[in-house]
Amino acid sequence: MTTIQHISTGRRLKDRMVQGLVYLAFALAVVPLVSVLWLVISNGLARFDMTFLTHSMRGIGARDVGGGAYHAIIGTLEQVLLSSLISVPIGLLTAIYLVEYGNGGRLSRAISFFVDVMTGIPSVVAGLFVLAFWILFLGMPYSGFAGAMALSILMMPTVVRSAEEMLRLVPDDLREASYALGVAKWRTILKVVLPTAFTGIVTGVMLAVARVAGETAPLLLTVFFTDSINNDPFSGPQMGLPLYVFDQAARPNDTAIDRAWTGALTLILIVMLLNLVARLIAWWRSPARGR
């Protein structure tokens, strides 16, 4: 016969212990995050000024103070924008195919497999591929666009996976409701499925952007270095913020080290800003608004 029992001391103890472990794990995860942020902010604030944001490194000698990352900021923004323009449409269309049309057939399974393979590509390999194919084989010059291509290789699988997940979350009820109104499949996808998944897709794209914005290795091989402003991503070497940090940090002067910290801070701020914009868009388009 079962009776109502009190919680035994053993179970209480276990409960406390596991709770403690969870808190400990949380603390362990937060420590590096906070310490990185603290380091970057405290070291980067020294040079975070208008000169830094509006000047390039043109004509700045090895020991000079001053100089800035304007050329690198422009480069990063253009490269990330271009790689998004390449990878978001392709990634989104792939996800739509996988969810709405693939039906688990041979082609969709093959695509799924290769997306997984792409996820595992080391970033330097993506850079090497563009270097070998675009620059060495086709004879194109180093450019921001070459860097954007390398970045888009890294971005695409993330976009496909996150968009696919979001599209699968859209209940079939809604698709059926739309079909039952006599709406064709492609219009259903365009007007019902995509708007419903919009918020999640934007978040996924932003995660992918944040991932590639900090990539250094592929840029190293594709956009080269420059100290000058180059607004045209299609010709000539450009700079990127990760490259800038890498470059400055390797120089033996304190002035350069300071610039490297500030470059890292700027990169974090840019990614944060982009995230904020994405959240605003998502909030603005969210169905709960105006209730």
Binding site: D173, R175, S178, Y179, A180, L181, G182, F198
Partner: protein
């Protein structure tokens, strides 16, 4: 504008599993036809074959004939999308589009099917919401999200959405099973009103509901689990519920099984 449906020798499959077998019946215009029967006997599947929604599920297919005023819905070059435009459907769970306002939900079918002027759209939305007995409750908040309404209101919104495209036939798959008695009453009143203009087919687990609202009733059953469902008998509702000709029908209706 309502039309008659004639079904003959219809089988429906999910992959290799036969869900319903050899269903033949006539569904009269301007009347309510109810399908009753135990769970899993293929009522909903059959309902979904009537507007070619069954084949939306991967691997599902249909054999046999469904004639809408003489035109075969499963004819060789029939566009399923156009069939669904003529035969609307209301689902078990209210499913308003979550990204759209009340107004946009009702307008969805018309908007997604092509261009339409704003004034005609306004008229149709008002007319459809009035037709679904929802206008008075929502007329002041048409731009609010449809998902913010109560369950019963959402279901009437879905009915408004379905009748906004002016179908010939309205299929309802257990439209009240997720609703409270008051909302159920509202929907039943609405069905009685809609039957003047539409051919209505309703699947229900609620025997009293079938008895209350329908003109004709079909009883579905299956020999055993895993076997395809069949129509046991179909007759005037009054006769089905007082003097059924099959033992199984009587047992089901009186609550001896199912």
């Amino acid at each position: 504008m309502s039309k008659q449906i004639q079904v003959s020798g219809l089988d429906a499959y999910y992959g290799s599993h036969k869900a319903i077998e050899d269903v033949s019946m006539t569904i009269e215009p301007r009347s309510i036809t109810a399908f009753i029967g135990p769970s899993g006997c293929g009522k909903s599947t059959f309902l979904r074959t009537l507007n070619r929604m069954h084949e939306v599920i991967p691997g599902a297919r249909v054999e046999g004939k469904v004639l809408l005023d003489g035109d075969d819905l499963y004819g060789g070059n029939v566009e399923p999308v156009s069939v669904r435009r003529m035969i609307g459907m209301v689902f078990q769970r209210p499913n308003p589009f979550p990204t759209m306002s009340i107004y946009d939900n009702v307008a969805a079918g018309l908007r997604l099917n092509g261009r339409i002027s704003k004034s005609r759209l306004d008229d149709t939305v008002e007319e459809s919401l009035k037709g679904a007995n929802l206008w008075n409750e929502v007329k002041d908040r048409l731009s609010k999200p449809g998902a913010g309404l109560s369950g019963g209101q959402q279901q009437r919104l879905c009915i408004a959405r379905a009748i906004a495209v002016k179908p010939q036939v309205l299929l309802m798959d257990e439209p009240c099973s997720a609703l409270d008695p008051i909302s159920t009453l509202a929907i039943e009143d609405l069905m009685a009103k809609l039957k003047d203009d539409y051919t209505i087919v309703i699947v229900t687990h609620n025997m009293q509901q079938a008895a209350r609202v329908s003109d004709r009733t079909a009883f579905f059953n299956l020999a055993e689990q895993g076997k395809p469902g069949k129509v046991i008998e179909m007759d005037e509702t009054s006769r089905m519920f007082t003097n059924p000709s099959h033992k199984a029908t009587e047992d089901y209706i009186t609550g001896r099984f199912g």
